[in-house]
């Protein structure tokens, strides 16, 4: 029963975060959340790609370095998700993306957060 309640709450949170993300969503310091990306392949070839998402704070510091491999058919769309933990300071966040075909994510890539709080002096 408790597990069910937890799942329901997680589902509810996921829906809210997706809805709010469009209008500019916010998270608490140190909060874990999910980053969702939709990737459309506009070429005429199917491709195995590395989807790289980088989060930057106000000062330009990297606060999220995410990478995931996915296969996208020509003209089709793929969805990828990444776990991410917010840094321990308040900031605006800008997300940049890069999709590289024929490249795999390095196994050493930190798929979580970079919560180096040296940056929160501002």
């Amino acid at each position: 029963m408790r597990t069910m309640k937890l799942i329901m709450m997680m589902l509810l949170f996921a829906c809210i975060s997706v809805t709010l993300a469009h209008a500019g969503s916010s998270v608490q310091k140190g909060q874990s959340t999910t980053i969702n990306a939709t990737v459309k392949n506009t070429t005429r070839s199917s491709a195995l790609v590395a989807v790289k998402i980088t989060g930057y704070d106000d000062s330009g510091s990297v606060i999220g370095h995410l990478c995931q491999n996915t296969y996208i058919k020509a003209g089709r769309t793929a969805n990828v998700s990444f776990p991410w933990q917010a840094p321990n300071y308040g900031t605006g966040v800008y997300w940049a993306s890069k999709v590289e075909a024929g490249v795999s994510c390095p196994s050493s890539v930190d798929e979580h957060d970079d919560d180096d709080d040296d940056h929160h002096h501002r």
Partner: protein, 478 residues
């Protein structure tokens, strides 16, 4: 007991007074060396018909027209003559520029011992426009207090240097008198890209001499970039701007374009309402290098734009005074020609669509006569159509006959605000020193373009093979 407290207070007041007096005497920068400066020709030479408007204060009696003998009176020069008419002093490879209003020639001043804080700074020259808040008309704001480091936010405190040539240096040389102490100066600077080309970064250096004879100072020689309290940076282990407090080591794009509301800004940036665009910096003791423009800018527009190839916008003049900041309401999504937009029509001036990221184009008039500007959702580089509203043609046409709506270049794209501090000491031992302890040093700035790392403005190269739409938080709450 009461008398003892009063005595204590008096002693403390004397201590503060003596400390302040000591600070004000501890100045070492005496003047801006204008030997290599070429002033723009006076107004009545280049444009005899021009009479300055009500926003150009000239201290009565301070200026005599050399051609007519007219004397400045009542805050104005009846003949239209002004010593620094055009707001430009030409430097090698660049210029010192200003709008000849509350900021005045020669464009830069050195404040030693601010009249409130006692701080030192290098800033714009002119009058504090906010010194008489009870004034009812703008012309009354001028001529009361010389600009000081501690003047209010957004009172035109920054001197503005522009570069005309990529990879060529602009030098500002300052005369110094050695007083045996080491003093910290705040640098209140605006830097403009007028190179005609994209710029991916710049370097700042402290040194001696100018032009081909410039030599960067050696660490420990008495010229240093510092934090506010005088902590010197290291050339061997440079400090990134990301770890400094805002205002101590920055290179910021105007908040009106990018950034969340903060203590100084009640509204958010038009193109991104969450993140401020800036150049990252790495500061050493005698030089500062940029580490790249923030992706919030480059993902939308590529590298730093030059002033002759800017994006166009429609501005709403909230107070009816064109010289004060106006609200950016929408922009031209295509090539923009300011002259055509202002003299023919806004529609003709935009070779593309007029669009807005704001929730509405209608400013809300408040009871006190001010306006509330509808918020902007900003651009999403991965989804250009998102919250992008095309402005109807009849609305665009209405701007041509309404003076409160002004199509214009987004000048702020070509400027960054530089915040830095420098420490000056040991001037008597500098290579420029004379026997009396008089010396000089130079602040140099050089714009650069690194083709290997530079980004290209989206849409100007081939279409993207992959389009990514990200759903993610845009704010981490403090």
């Amino acid at each position: 007991m009461k008398n003892r407290m009063r005595l204590t207070n008096i002693i403390w007041a004397l201590v503060v007074l003596l400390t302040t007096a000591g600070m004000s005497q501890a100045a070492v920068i005496t003047s801006w060396d204008m030997t290599d400066v070429t002033p723009m020709a006076p107004t009545n030479v280049t444009n005899p018909g021009l009479i300055f408007d009500a926003y150009n204060y000239i201290e009565p009696g301070s200026l005599i027209d050399p051609n007519t003998g007219a004397v400045a009176t009542g805050g104005f020069m009846p003949s239209g003559y002004a010593k620094y008419a055009g707001g430009v002093n030409y430097l090698t490879n660049g210029a010192m520029t200003w709008k000849e209003r509350d900021t005045q020639g020669p464009g830069l001043s050195i404040v030693v011992g601010d009249d409130i804080t006692g701080d030192n700074c290098i800033m714009s020259a002119g009058w504090n426009p906010d010194s008489t808040p009870e004034a009812t008309q703008m012309s009354d704001w001028w001529g009361v207090d010389l600009k000081q480091c501690s003047d209010p936010f957004q009172s035109s405190k920054r001197f503005k240097v522009v570069s005309y040539n990529l990879d060529k240096s602009v030098d500002l040389t300052f005369n110094v008198t050695d007083n045996g102490s080491e003093d910290v100066y705040r640098i209140l600077q605006k830097y403009g890209n007028q190179t005609g080309q994209r710029v991916s970064g710049y370097t700042q250096q402290l040194g001696f001499g100018s032009g081909a004879s410039f030599v960067e100072a050696a660490p420990g020689q008495g010229l240093a970039y510092t934090l506010k309290r005088g902590t010197k940076f290291s050339n061997d282990n440079p400090t990134p701007s990301t770890v400094a407090n805002q205002g101590e080591l920055d290179s910021l794009v105007a908040h009106g374009l990018f950034g969340a509301p903060d203590k100084h800004h009640t509204t958010s940036g038009y193109f991104n309402p969450y993140v401020r665009a800036n150049f990252g910096l790495l500061a050493g003791e005698t030089h500062i290098n940029t580490t790249g423009m923030h992706p919030v800018h480059t993902d939308l527009f590529g590298e730093w734009m030059p002033s002759n190839n800017l994006k166009g916008a429609i501005y709403f003049d909230m107070d009816g005074i064109i010289y004060t900041d106006n609200a950016l309401m929408g922009h031209c999504d295509g090539a923009f020609n300011e002259e055509v937009a202002q003299t023919v029509s806004a529609a003709e001036g935009c070779q593309g669509e007029w669009v807005t990221y704001r929730e509405s184009l209608v400013p809300i008039l408040n009871g006190d006569g001010t306006y509330t500007i509808p918020p902007s959702h900003g651009a999403d580089p991965s989804d250009p159509a998102y919250v992008r509203t095309v402005i109807p043609a009849d609305v665009v046409a209405s701007w041509d006959t309404n003076p409160l709506w002004i199509p214009a270049d987004i000048d702020d794209f070509a400027n960054v605000n530089i915040n830095a501090y420098i420490a000056i000491g040991n001037a008597g031992a500098w290579p420029t020193a004379d026997a009396n302890g008089n010396a000089s040093f130079t602040m140099r700035i050089t714009p650069t373009f690194d083709a290997a790392t530079a980004t290209t403005e989206p849409g100007t190269a081939a279409p993207a093979d992959f389009i990514v739409f990200i759903e993610a938080p845009t704010t981490v709450l403090p």
